[in-house]
């Protein structure tokens, strides 16, 4: 078990180095000059050159890449080219909102999707199953910003139950924190509810055909008991996997949701930074997301063992 974990963490290193190289090259080959963005149109060439030098952009590309990787390994993520603030400080400022949004979305998605999926599996082929399945496909096919606007229009502007936008940290109290997360989480959770419910349904149906379920039924267990104890438990591996996938996929939706609901999170940070060519910030945030992705995968793998005793590392 421990060797497996160590092996997996070590195997993440080349992946992350690859991420660093890809991101670095993609960014530096793109047109755009942070010095021009900062200095404005009437700057002279000398002033621009001085700015570029102070940002370390005049060195050869490969040297910049190695310098950067060296810095990361020593825990120094540099400063933002645009604001001059340490990148770690910027990320720490923005990490909380994104984490809160992602967690609440996943919790909501799982809480809604698993009962829906089990229900659909139980009622397989009946109207309620078809309804859930059709609804789940719809969940994939409506862009998240449209869902967001509709929710704002109904629940914030119309009924006035929630604020239109904004974010408050947990330190301001749970009420203000939670009330601002409801609409964004609901909007963002749509595709994940759809995804998870489908997987739950498919796998529960599959497990229901197995012999031991028939045995359980024969023993006179109630249908509910069979579903919850046996079927769902045995379908846990793919379900955990898909939840892991959902967390990893969240970031695309997070960028949009943070814009629509004005949540000052990492998604917006990275978008702003791309538009301003703030290289150091984009590189670090993407690296952070990739690291999280890798560790979620690791966690999912470890959970397999927890749910399925047949898997041993």
């Amino acid at each position: 078990m421990l060797t497996f974990v160590v092996k997996r963490i070590l195997s993440a290193v080349p992946v992350l180095i690859m991420v660093a190289i890809i991101v670095f090259l993609v960014l530096r080959l793109s047109p755009g000059d942070p010095a021009l963005m900062i200095a404005g149109p009437s700057a002279t060439e000398d002033q621009l050159q001085a700015l570029r030098e102070s940002m370390g952009l005049t060195k050869p590309l490969l040297q910049q890449l190695f310098l950067w990787i060296g810095q990361i390994l020593s825990g120094d993520f540099g400063v933002s080219l645009i604001s001059g603030k340490p990148v770690t400080e910027l990320i720490l400022d923005r990490f909380g909102p994104t984490l809160a949004l992602s967690l609440s979305t996943i919790v909501l998605a799982v809480a809604v999707a698993i009962p829906l999926g089990v229900l659909a599996a139980w009622q397989q082929g009946k109207w309620i199953d078809r309804l859930v399945m059709a609804g789940s496909v719809l969940g994939f096919s409506v862009p998240v910003f449209i869902v967001g606007y509709i929710l704002i229009l109904i629940f914030a502007r119309g009924l006035g139950w929630f604020p239109v936008q904004g974010y408050k940290p947990l330190s301001d109290g749970f009420g203000p924190f939670a009330v601002r997360l409801v609409l964004p989480s609901v909007a963002l959770s749509f595709p994940y509810i759809a995804l998870i419910a489908r997987i739950v349904r498919t796998n529960v149906i599959e497990v229901m055909g197995e012999d031991y379920i028939r045995t359980a039924r024969a023993k006179g267990l109630t249908e509910g008991g069979v579903l919850m104890d046996h079927a769902l438990g045995n379908a846990a591996v793919p379900i955990v996997t898909i939840i892991g996938v959902s967390i990893a996929m969240l970031i695309g939706g997070v960028v949009v949701t943070e814009s629509v609901f004005n949540i000052p999170g990492l998604g917006r940070l990275v978008l702003e930074s791309v538009l301003a060519r703030d290289y150091t910030v984009i590189q670090t945030v993407i690296l952070l997301f990739s690291t999280i992705y890798v560790f979620i995968n690791l966690a999912v793998d470890l959970l397999y063992g927890l749910f399925d005793p047949r898997i041993r590392y």
Binding site: S30, V137, P143, S290
Partner: protein, 303 residues
């Protein structure tokens, strides 16, 4: 689950295990099988109509979707402009009809690009162990980068054109396809009949073509439908974030993005393209589902 832990990916996981060799299917029979269910029939019909609309766009009472007329902007539906006009005074109906072309091209193009490269890298790494180490590390790196962020950066590099957007949407899909093909090939390679063929000295290409690739067709078909649907959605999101197809070109995605400011005043500006996206994605997904059920006999037996 194998001990070779796969970095997870959505469409792959939605797939059934493909652990048994299957006979090659007759495509016609597959088609007939698939179309025997009502949801599939309806989906195919809707999709067919959308494709037809895209092809026949110039003859459907449309005007040039690019011509702007700012003095006529944001007009309500009228006999001249069936669905009204957009923020540049362009005809919304014509843009929706022509937009079908772009959105279908984005969907189909992404499927083609990502499947081509994905299958290539998947076969390469599944069949040749030496390639596995290098290529798969690169693929893992690519897969760990959030796709949408990579796409935004790529569009920023080369400017917003249809080609760039298509490539930017395809690249994050390639490693997922490659992983899936690789795992299928790894599984099939261990089968006795393949090992036997190998011992008998079957050439590499014949082996790949005759024995390995056919096994990937079924999961690729299903994965293709998901990629198709996802690509149309991603295009819409990229447009929303300002890194999509150039605003002149009508696509459902950038129509929704352009119209979003008017959501409260003129909801129809995003409603109609949104409806088209939903219809298309819905029918493609439905087809994908039915296809998967038909292609996986293990599951089909139980249904």
């Amino acid at each position: 689950m194998t001990s070779d832990t796969e970095p997870a990916s959505a469409p792959t996981l939605a797939l059934p295990d493909l652990d048994s060799p299957k006979e090659r299917r007759d495509p016609l029979k597959l088609l007939r099988d698939t179309l025997s269910s009502w949801p599939a029939r309806i989906s195919a019909l809707v999709l067919g109509l959308i494709v037809l609309m895209a092809i026949c766009a110039p003859w459907l009472g449309t005007v040039d979707p690019v011509t702007i007329n700012p003095s006529l902007r944001l007009k309500p539906p009228s006999p001249e402009h069936w669905l009204g006009t957009d923020t540049f005074g362009r005809d919304v109906y014509s843009r929706i009809v022509y937009g079908a072309r772009i959105s279908l091209v984005v969907g189909a193009g992404t499927v083609i690009v990502s499947l081509l490269f994905g299958v290539f890298f998947g076969v390469l790494t599944g069949y040749f162990r030496w390639a596995d180490l290098i290529v798969m590390r690169f693929m893992d790196g690519l897969m760990a980068i959030p796709g949408i962020l990579l796409a935004i950066a790529l569009v920023a590099i080369s400017g917003a054109t249809l080609t760039t957007v298509l490539i930017a949407i395809s690249i994050p899909e390639i490693p997922r396809v490659a992983r899936m093909v690789r795992s299928v090939i790894l599984g099939v390679k261990a089968e006795p009949y393949v090992e036997a063929a190998s011992v008998l000295g079957t050439g590499v290409w014949k082996m790949v073509w005759r024995h390995l690739l056919p096994n990937t067709v079924a999961p690729l078909l299903v994965q293709g439908t998901y990629i198709f649907a996802a690509a149309i959605m991603t295009e819409a999101i990229l447009s929303f974030l300002g890194a999509g197809i150039p605003p002149e070109t009508p696509s459902w995605g950038n129509m929704m993005a352009d119209g979003r400011v008017y959501f409260q005043l003129k909801p129809e500006l995003i409603l109609f393209p949104g409806l088209m996206v939903s219809l298309t994605v819905l029918s493609v997904n439905m087809l994908g589902d039915v296809l998967r059920d038909r292609l996986d006999p293990r599951m089909a037996k139980r249904l």
